[in-house]
Symmetry: C2
Subunit: 115 residues, 2 copies
Amino acid sequence: MQASLLRIRINHAGNTALGPGKIELLQHIAQQGSISAAAKQMRMSYRRAWELVDVMNRCFDQAVVVSTAGGSHGGGAQVTEFGQALIDAYQQILQKSAQAAADELHLITRHLKKD
Amino acid sequence: MQASLLRIRINHAGNTALGPGKIELLQHIAQQGSISAAAKQMRMSYRRAWELVDVMNRCFDQAVVVSTAGGSHGGGAQVTEFGQALIDAYQQILQKSAQAAADELHLITRHLKKD
DNA sequence: CATCGTAATGTATATATGGGTATAACGATG
DNA sequence: CATCGTTATACCCATATATACATTACGATG
């Protein structure tokens, strides 16, 4: 199976507010409770992961990820309820879109060369 | 109104087989009958426009754009019937997706900071 | 109060991307 | 058969993007 044929992004002021990469990152953060662990799991630099989180936190009217520095295990990061709602909504958009446009999608993909 | 909130791409072997940029380029080529004229209209370098066309032609099992070099006006390029079908299908996908996922989209975009 | 692992930020470097320019090939037309 | 505008391609360079590495801040815990 190929990795997600359909890619959907939501734009905001010319930039991507939400796309497959940010969603995947959020899921890993939610699972790991840490930005650095999520980054490592995705083999992405911590720097980049943090920047993606920062962009999200700044382009929405409420936090998507909250983090604490320091503490027994150095701190950590949690996906907020709102962030989880974003993840869910994004998945729904993906699923509903793929379903609603299944015919046209098939029309296109059936002509993609197999690699 | 903001420029297309929802951006959809169709992936092929890790790369983008079809996205908003390629579709817009195809439309300009269809209208102009020339890659270079389309590129100029989009203020894109001819080199890049040609590469986008090349990628499309190589990742589908039939040509999206056919071109002729030489001739009275130097030649030109035409979008094939298949290419036009791709454009139409893409537009349908955009429209149907936005419609099918309107609720979830609204849930997300209502929390985007106004810029 | 030293330790630990993470957040947060800075800086330098490598890589990818796209633009600019030049040049050759092409072929209908006058 | 010279001209013309376009396709097609190569080469170099500027810029953007992402990585790598380094450093500081943080604060619960032993």
